[in-house]
Amino acid sequence: MSEMTQTAAKPRIERSATASRTYMIFVIIGLAVLILAPMFFYPIFLMKLLCFALFACAFNLLLGYTGLLSFGHATFFGGAAYFTAHVVKEWGFPPELGILTGVVGAAMLGLIMGFFAIRRQGIYFAMITLALSQMFFFFCLQAEFTEGEDGIQSVPRGHLFGFIDLNISTNMYYFVLGVFLIGMVIIWRFINSPFGMILRSIRENEPRAISLGYSVARYKLGAFVMSAALAGLAGGLKALVFQFATLTDVAWQMSGEVILMTLLGGIGTLIGPIFGAGLVVTLQNYLATSQFPVTIVTGVIFMVCVLVFRRGIIGEFYASRLGRKLGFEHRR
Amino acid sequence: MAPLLQVSNLNAWYGESHVLHGVDMTVGEGETITILGRNGVGKTTTLRTIVGIIRERKGEIRFAGKDMANVPLHRTAHNGIGFVPEERGIFSTLTVEENLMLPPVVAEGGMSLEEIYELFPNLLERRASPGTKLSGGEQQMLAIARILRTGVKLLILDEPTEGLAPVIVQRIGEVLKTLKDRGMTVLLVEQNFRFASRVADRFYLMDHGRMVADFPVGELPGKMDMLHKVLGV
């Protein structure tokens, strides 16, 4: 499995000083762009972008840094959307608690799914996550609280902390941005923590990690739950942004989409999935108005990426001459 | 007469690792040649590069006059080169007879199934067993036997006696002598020095990815000191 992430750039902490400086500059520019963006772009579109960017980054935690390909992440994203939508609409939870509920729910789903999936590796792991996710889909289809094919509609955004009205676009946008940034910081800290290091050593050389005495299964499960919880954060957020939660959010196609975003952006890079999500969301938006089917485009991009663009946008950048000049190193 | 196999300035790489540094050797038709050397000097690599398993290679490999540089791996046998790898490669999902019959016949002159069973009667007995249910020695016999059916002119063997009991080793020596009488050309890598001295016509000594000495079996007694030094035996 380490092979899949051999094409990824080196983890941030091993970068040279030049690279770190360049990286900081990019981050600051990025932040500025995000803060100023609602003046130039439609806020709902931006919020959708941020939600999916967070979703993709959460997914990448598992794929890029732990080396596990999950085909069932829609369960966490969509499941959290349902949980948040339900508690906010039916039980009158304030938005921050609603999202928290989504996160906790997604984490529990992650615990269950991870428990079963981790018993196998590689291909089998992927297939198991797909099957379990489909099981959750059928459950959502039939359960009462999800309201079946209609989904949960008219989810109120409410007032953040009791006084910030999230129905005002600007407020909502900066709330979403704030949550997104918190999520990114959590991911960043997690990757660079001792736990994260051990995950990476498991990805590199699992037998070695086992021989060193690490309980590999427990670490994998931990990563799985973490990834699920953060995907849930994105999902709960999304429920409030669009004010509905539907079956689409828990379908296998959604799981496929987040894989594409990560692959396109760069597996194993911290910011790659953000770009991947941006591209995919923009593409979907653009194609939504035209007659051209999104599925075909998605499928073709998948095939092309796997064949000739495995490093993804950011990965290719790190490996390019400009990237290397700026100090980013690339393995292989 | 031109040698059957001619290798000139052969270089080979395992990924980034440069493992063969200009190997030169010739194998005349009907000869039995042995490559000696310590572990890790490149003996197996040499064999695998000649066969074409290792493709990152430069230099000349000429077999029966033909340049083998662009011959794909699945055409090597058709040109007349047979290979018995170190791990023997007996297939567990095939019976002994299926293993025996697997390599396609690439030229005339190979042994018939009856002849092979005559030479290796224990294979006849076990012919319906799964290939890997045989003992190590029997598996080695099988690995050699299945190449004999194909009609190749050069038999390449990687450490045929490794891990086998002396009785079996002797049997293999007899097999190789029989093959030699039938005109088969043999190239083998061996650590078992004494076995090699009984079957080979000529020796190559290998160190650090290149040949450092070659001499006929007659000169062997005079080279013992050098061999002890280089091989550490």
């Binding site: 291909i123 797909l130 489909q134 | 290979f83 999902t93």
Partner: protein, 295 residues
């Protein structure tokens, strides 16, 4: 009216038959997946799409060329198999040196592309394909009514499964396949053109899927979604069975189909998830799968 376990016998046997039919498809499809995975080490996500292509091939051949079911049963798999072989030769084969998950992702993209194309051309709704005249109607067996086409499907898929098994276990070609699965480099060194063997195998797998598709056309509607609906269940079947053996894949397919049928009788709400539940249980008790050889 005879009762069994509190259910009318007719209803029980009727569901059991449906379960057996579904099991036939699960067996055929997981067989194809196992054959491809065994040699190519690729999980062919596009298997469902190839199944769908088989059904569409039958329907389109009838509509545009007046080709009947019987010819379609042969021609459909050939066409889809060829298409698969071309994909393998031009694209899939480039991925063999990489992590096997890339093969999964590539075939996933392929599945999306194929399904998206047909969805665009034909919409999501299903189209009918009629049962061929020779197999229409049914017979009354006394304890149940057996539609002839259903019986035909069970018999033919069994024959196809056993035929494939014989091909792999008893023929020379099968010996090459089995050997190449174990040690492809050595088999090449013996003079066998393994790359061509790989192409053939993928084509064969795709053809098997398409064959199942043609069989399915008169029973289920011919819809662009039929592939993705079934492939996820087949994945679960494959995890339960383990992909070590051909026979294991076949047996597991039939067993799980029947299990699904039985669940429909006694606990219908759970029928679409029972296979996944069984998968979860098997993962707890015997992670390598019922017939699996590697963990």
């Amino acid at each position: 009216m005879t009762m069994i376990f509190g259910i009318p016998l007719q209803a029980f046997l009727g569901q059991l038959l449906i379960g057996l039919i579904n099991g036939s498809f699960y067996a055929l499809l997981s067989l194809g997946l196992a054959v491809i995975f065994g040699l190519l080490r690729v999980i062919n996500f596009a298997h469902g799409a190839q199944y769908m292509l088989g059904a569409f091939a039958a329907m389109l051949m009838l509509e545009y060329f007046g080709i009947n079911y019987w010819v379609a049963l042969i021609l459909g798999p050939i066409v889809v198999g060829l298409f698969g072989a071309i994909i393998e030769r031009t694209m899939l084969s480039r991925l063999y040196d990489l992590d096997p998950l890339y093969g999964l992702l590539f075939t996933f993209g392929l599945a999306l592309t194929i399904e998206g194309t047909f969805r665009y051309l034909y919409g999501a709704a299903g189209q009918p394909y009629s049962v061929p005249a020779q197999l229409a109607g049914g017979t009354n067996l006394g304890f149940m009514f057996l539609p002839i086409y259903r019986g035909w499907v069970v018999v033919v898929s069994l024959v196809a499964c056993i035929g494939t098994w014989l091909l792999i276990e008893k023929t020379k070609l099968g010996a090459y396949l089995r050997a190449a699965t174990e040690n492809p480099v050595l088999v090449q060194a013996f003079g066998v053109n393994v790359p061509v063997l790989l192409t053939l195998t993928y084509g064969l797998g795709a053809a098997l899927a398409a064959f199942a598709g043609v069989l399915a056309a008169p029973i289920y509607q011919v819809s662009p979604l039929m592939g993705s609906n079934i492939i996820i269940v087949v994945f679960a079947v494959v995890v339960v069975g383990g992909m070590g053996s051909i026979m294991g894949a076949i047996l597991t397919g039939y067993m799980l189909g029947i299990a699904e049928g039985l669940t429909k009788v006694f606990y219908p709400e759970a029928s679409n998830i029972v296979i996944f539940v069984i998968m979860a249980i098997v993962l707890l008790l015997r992670p390598a799968g019922l017939f699996g050889r590697d963990a």
